[in-house]
């Protein structure tokens, strides 16, 4: 069992995962499945952003869906209304969400815990209301049509599903790679120290404000990039993209996958998107099941699927290591060894 489990944590596992993702369009039974998978990848990118501020840094950001919509609208307005080319607009969408993230972060991160969650909830709602009401800029409830698909420079046509799938996959791999580098870097550890307690982090000489704002800006950039990709795939967006429910969806994905883990956001997002897809009748009422699931997970399995699995494996490994170190007792009382980790 333990040997089987260690297959998942083997360094080669991620290459297998990548190979599977690359081969998926060839085994998928319809173009629709490829499309769903590409959507899941885009959401996963946004969830990786949420994981930085909420998972690593421990600040529950309830405006994440709003920043996703900001990225989507920035791209939509620039390409559709101002005739920009896709890639400059894409870059601008990332920058706009980063800049807005910095502005919101500087104000909101002075607040602690509950106040921060409430404040960001309101920020998310302000973004939603502004998008809905500011008709001169966002076209209000009508939404924006004619958003440019990613420019393939005549080589690839990204308005087709399959090429777009690979583009989304590329960005997802980039997102995971960066998140992985971040998590193992000093900066990532700084974020985790802040999660473990403001006072503790401060006593280590960490500048709370600067690091929190940095984590926040990184997360909103992720959200903005994901939103821009989303807009260029759907090609039509409306104020519903900013609905605070998207934030709650992303929290669900992250919680099920595992807060503060590297592959939790991917596992949670892809898993939940496919479960919802395969239970089509659930589309509108999925929260009848996911709502209680969130509660049950938070109470009994707050580390999510990936976090729980890693914790379990760590414990088993420690047990095995201890059993190896004491070969004499191994045969008679293997169960006596109590796990500590």
């Amino acid at each position: 069992m333990r040997r089987f489990a260690s297959l998942f944590t083997h360094p080669a596992a991620r290459w297998v995962l990548l190979a599977l993702a690359l081969g998926f369009p060839f085994v998928a039974s319809s173009e629709y499945q490829v499309y769903v998978m590409a959507t899941a990848f885009i959401w996963a990118i946004a969830v990786y952003g949420l994981n930085i501020i909420t998972g690593y840094c421990g600040q529950l950001n309830l405006a994440h869906g709003g920043f996703f919509a900001v990225g989507a609208y920035a791209l939509a307005i620039l390409t559709s209304d101002h005739g920009w080319n896709f890639w400059p607009a894409f870059l601008a969408a990332g920058l706009v969400s980063a800049a807005l993230g910095a502005a919101v972060g500087v104000v909101s991160l002075r607040l602690k815990e509950h106040y921060f969650a409430i404040f960001t909830l309101c920020v998310g709602f302000i973004i939603y209301l502004l998008i809905d009401k500011w008709e001169a800029l966002t076209h209000g409830a009508i939404g924006i049509r004619g958003i440019a698909a990613p420019d393939g420079f005549g080589l690839v046509d990204f308005s087709q599903t399959r090429p777009f799938y690979y583009l989304a996959l590329g960005f997802l791999v980039l997102a995971i790679w960066f998140a992985g580098r971040l998590a193992s870097s000093l900066l990532g550890r700084t974020f985790m120290a802040i999660r473990n307690g403001d006072a503790l982090a401060q006593s280590l000489g960490i500048d709370l404000m600067r690091n929190k704002v940095l984590a926040f800006v990184l997360s909103t950039t992720y959200a903005g990039v994901a939103g821009a990709l989303y807009a260029s795939m759907i090609r039509f967006i409306g104020p519903e993209e900013a609905n605070p429910n998207h934030t709650f969806d992303m929290i669900t994905y992250l919680l099920i996958g595992g807060f503060g883990t590297l592959f939790g956001p991917l596992a949670g997002t892809v898993g939940v998107v496919w479960i919802t897809q395969s239970l089509q009748f659930l589309e509108d009422y999925r929260m009848v099941i996911f709502g209680p699931l969130i509660v049950v997970l938070v109470i009994f399995m707050p580390r999510g699927v990936v976090g729980t699995f890693l914790g379990w494996k760590l414990r088993k490994d420690a047990e095995a290591a201890r059993a190896d170190a004491r070969p004499g007792v191994d045969g008679m009382s293997g169960t006596e060894v109590k796990p500590h980790a």
């Binding site: 909420t54 421990g58 529950l60 104000v107 909101s108 002075r110 607040l111 602690k112 815990e113 509950h114 106040y115 969650a117 409430i118 404040f119 909830l121 309101c122 920020v123 709602f125 302000i126 209301l129 502004l130 009401k133 605070p244 429910n245 709650f248 929290i251 669900t252 919680l255 509108d284 009422y285 999925r286 929260m287 009848v288 996911f290 709502g291 209680p292 699931l293 969130i294 509660v295 938070v298 109470i299 707050p302």
Partner: protein, 287 residues
């Protein structure tokens, strides 16, 4: 004169409803330090319960309101028992997420049974009173009188009865309350029941001049949060004062500035206040 009076009336109506919702929120925060994001869903369930009792069972408005208060009180107690109680020692981020889970669940259930259509709730108080050229719709008068009666009743309950004093004691000092033998579980359940009941009453009072739909709790709960941040989290007088400030700001802002953006006023107020006073305007109210 008349226009000004209408805005005052409007502000009082809004302030009363916000006050009732914010009171429940601030009571729960005072005792358990949980920002109950599911409170707006309880408000919404209260409106639908009244709607159900009135249109499907044909009960009278008052009886429907009382029954709905009971239903939501029980629901709120269940939330406390099944969700927040097991999480009492968990990191603070957990009960916020759990509250969001409850919110999503309740909204989905209501949507499953009633759909996401907007519904109109009839009220026996559809008439209009006229005093010397001033026009007062009966329902608005009912809201203001009803809300102030409830607030007074809550005040008397908290200050004059033994049971109510246990809530105050717990909000002031948890350890102190334990020392004099107060049962924390009972106080927590009682607080949730009161908060749910107030939300249901507020929803039933407000629904006839508004609409009933599954997302109706969103704006109200966020405004209630703005109010309790404004008034100091956990402070009861702060919640009432904050509600009145917000009610008047919205009614006058919506009238003199722009009705499209009147919902943004509340949030802008919050952004401005928290930018200068990160712990709220009247920080540290009840404890």
């Amino acid at each position: 004169m008349n226009l000004l009076f209408q805005q005052v009336l409007n502000g009082l109506t809004l302030g009363s409803i916000y006050g009732l919702v914010a009171l429940g929120l601030t009571l729960v925060y005072g005792i358990l330090h949980i920002p109950n994001f599911a409170h707006g869903a309880l408000y919404m369930v209260g409106a639908f319960a009244s709607y159900f009792f009135m249109t499907d069972l044909g009960l009278h408005y008052w009886i429907a309101m009382l029954l709905s208060g009971g239903v939501v009180a029980v629901l709120a107690m269940l939330c406390e028992r099944l969700v927040f109680h097991p999480l009492r020692n968990a990191p603070p981020i957990h009960d916020k997420i759990a509250a969001i889970g409850i919110l999503l669940f309740l909204e989905a259930v209501v949507q499953m049974f009633w759909g996401s259509d907007f519904r109109r709730m009839a009220s026996p108080f559809g008439g209009i009173l006229r005093f010397d050229g001033l026009i007062i719709p009966e329902q608005r008068l009912l809201i203001i009188v009803g809300a102030f009666t409830l607030m007074l009743a809550l005040h008397l309950f908290l200050r004059k009865t033994m049971l109510g004093s246990t809530i105050i004691a717990m909000a002031q000092s948890r350890e102190g309350a334990f020392l004099v033998g107060i049962d924390a579980n009972r106080v927590a359940m009682l607080t949730f029941a009161i908060s749910g009941m107030l939300a249901a009453f507020a929803a039933t009072l407000y629904a006839p001049i508004n609409l009933v739909y599954p997302a109706m709790g969103h704006l109200v709960i966020m405004k209630a949060f703005v109010i309790i941040v404004l008034g100091g989290m956990g402070s009861i007088p702060g919640a009432i004062v904050g509600a009145m400030i917000l009610g008047f700001a919205e009614s006058f802002g919506g009238f003199y500035l722009s009705s499209d953006y009147k919902d943004i006023i509340a949030f802008s107020l919050l952004v401005v206040i928290l930018s200068f006073r990160p712990t709220g305007l009247f920080a540290k109210g009840a404890h």
